[in-house]
């Protein structure tokens, strides 16, 4: 059963996946970028972006999905997300203290408002999305073997 699982699912699933996986990615980016105006934010957006790549891996098998986002690229994005979040926090020292909201607040209800909150949302979504995709790839690539019983 593991061989068929790695080659992907039937033709119906592959066709529907081809149509919807771009829309899922776009929806994740929408929820992420409007995090300070409507419900959502970095965590939900990051998980939805990770779900779009996992959908690709489940429907087409792992070779096709790993060509789109390999393990090295996923680990790179996760580290970049964490370092970006920390650097935004340290830049708050220019204004006064750690994590100060130092950019301009702008007018409310616009997309470019609320200081550092949209940038923090993007950093969090990199970290959460790439981290969850790395967890799923690691659990899928563990080949099932019968252990040696003593």
């Amino acid at each position: 059963m593991s061989k068929e699982h790695e080659k992907g699912m039937s033709i119906i699933v592959k066709t529907i996946t081809r149509l919807t996986v771009g829309l899922i990615l776009l929806y994740g980016i929408y929820i992420l970028s409007h995090g300070h105006i409507s419900p959502g934010g970095g965590f939900a957006g990051g998980v939805i972006i990770a779900l779009s790549f996992i959908h690709l891996m489940l429907a087409y098998g792992k070779e096709v999905a790993l060509k789109k986002l390999s393990k090295g690229v996923a680990s790179f994005f996760e580290s970049i997300g964490a370092l970006l979040f920390l650097s935004i926090a340290f830049l708050g020292f220019t204004g006064g203290y750690f994590f100060l909201n130092f950019l301009s607040k702008g007018e409310p209800f616009k997309l470019f408002s609320a200081g550092i909150i949209p940038l923090c949302n993007i950093a969090i979504s990199f970290k959460v999305g790439a981290g969850l995709f790395a967890i799923f790839v690691a659990l899928v690539l563990l080949k099932p073997e019968k252990g040696d019983k003593k």
């Binding site: 593991s2 300070h36 981290g131 659990l139 563990l142």
Partner: protein
């Protein structure tokens, strides 16, 4: 609040089905319905941020659990007669619920929270941070340090999973290098 009671009864019945049924796949699917019930309960309690996050996280949880259980051949769980253990467990849970009922009288009544800190967040949140979503302003401006801690916990979990799954030096079919010794 009749819909909240209906949702809670549905969740309890779903949880009892999830733990009692013998097939592992059915148990994981029943867990999915409990998570869906929690997400709808978050919507009824006026928390839309949490409803979105809970729904997608529960989907991912069910996918990861199914990936672990589907390909193995033990798809039934063995139950044996253990009367003394069952008695002690049920007794402990009964004592816990009785003590909890006494403790819950000290909480403020359902629907009238004491909002000492949150009153300030609600009044001045929009002016001081500029964000219309007050929950996002709480997690990323007023309490951003907690979000940094949560990012660290996620990073540690990813490193933990990658360290558990890694294979070092499996050279031949019969000889396996024991990696539990490191």
């Amino acid at each position: 609040m009749i819909e909240l009671y209906v949702l809670l009864i549905f969740m309890i019945i779903g949880a009892i089905v999830a733990i009692e049924v013998k097939d592992l796949l059915s148990s994981v699917i029943a867990l999915g319905t409990v998570g869906l019930g929690v997400s709808i309960a978050f919507l009824v309690l006026k928390a839309p941020d949490l409803a979105i996050t809970q729904l997608v996280v529960e989907i991912l949880c069910v996918i990861i659990l199914m990936r672990a259980t589907l390909k193995r051949d033990t798809s039934f769980s063995i139950t044996g007669g253990r009367f003394l253990t069952t008695l002690i467990t049920v007794g402990f849970i009964a004592v816990f619920l009785f003590v909890a009922k006494e403790c819950l009288k000290d909480l403020p009544e359902f629907g009238y929270p004491v909002m000492k800190v949150a009153g300030t967040y609600l009044r001045e949140g929009m002016m001081k941070t500029g964000a219309a979503n007050l929950v996002a302003s709480v997690i990323l401006d007023y309490r951003a340090y907690d979000t940094l801690g949560e990012a660290t916990v996620l990073f540690t979990a990813v490193i933990g999973v990658l360290a558990l799954v890694r294979r070092i030096g499996r050279k031949k079919e019969g000889i396996k290098i024991r990696e539990e010794d490191e």
